[in-house]
């Protein structure tokens, strides 16, 4: 893969990770974590680990996002900050 494209992917990877750590809204954090997993899957594929990228895309970007959203709807924030 071209190194410019990989550089852009790494940049978005770091941005999405920082956003999912520091954002207040939990739903935004889950969506940002799914974006992180998807970009990481693309980087795995570009490095030649197609199996790992496949698993990361399906599990990280698909199933765990659904499970986290269910958990957000089942819990509530105790303090209203």
């Amino acid at each position: 893969m071209h190194w410019e494209l990989e550089l852009v992917l790494y940049l978005f990877l770091i941005i999405s990770a920082v956003v999912s750590l520091y954002v207040k809204d939990l739903l935004t954090a889950v969506v940002s974590l799914s974006v992180f997993s998807f970009i990481l899957a693309m980087l795995f594929v570009s490095m030649g680990a197609i199996d790992v990228g496949f698993t990361e895309a399906v599990i990280g970007a698909g199933v765990t996002g659904v499970l986290y959203i269910v958990l957000i709807y089942k819990t509530s924030r105790r303090s209203n900050d």
């Binding site: 698909g62 199933v63 709807y73």
Partner: protein, 145 residues
């Protein structure tokens, strides 16, 4: 989910997309021995297609697709397929999961090995799909209580 969305657009879109995800999951499972992918990835893909219907439709609709009570028995069946193939090969004189010894004498030995790994991947895919769906169902279970 308890308050399912009333939007017909979301329901229509997930109804259109879900069978294609499922078909691709079956492709990944059945071509796992010559291309990337395999039982785990294909099973997770099948689970994703079932979960897509579960989060967009209400309970009466998704029970028609895949019943809640089938989760754990089908998962146990997948584990039993894996264990059974391994134990049959062991009882017939080989090591655990040694596909060379499977009792399929009507085809050449190379094909017996290919069929053995295919059986293992079907078992793994079934177990992964049903257990991922069972986690979702158990998370929502006590909502009505």
């Amino acid at each position: 989910m308890k308050q399912s969305s009333d939007s017909p657009i979301i329901l229509l879109l997930s109804r259109v997309i879900s069978p294609y995800i499922m078909l691709f999951g079956l492709y990944v499972i059945f071509h796992g021995h010559y291309s990337p992918g395999g039982g785990f990835q294909g099973g997770a893909m099948l689970a994703a297609s079932i979960l897509l219907i579960r989060i967009s439709a209400e309970e009466k609709v998704y029970e028609l697709q895949f019943k809640k009570s089938f989760d754990i028995p089908l998962g146990a069946l997948g584990v039993l397929i894996f264990l059974g193939v391994g134990l049959i090969a062991m009882l017939l004189g080989g090591n655990f999961l040694d596909y060379h010894f499977l009792p399929m004498d009507w085809m050449p030995k190379a094909d017996v090995r290919a069929m053995g790994i295919l059986l293992i991947e079907v078992g793994v895919g079934l177990a992964v799909m049903t257990i991922l769906v069972a986690i979702y169902d158990n998370l929502l279970e006590d909502e009505d209580a």
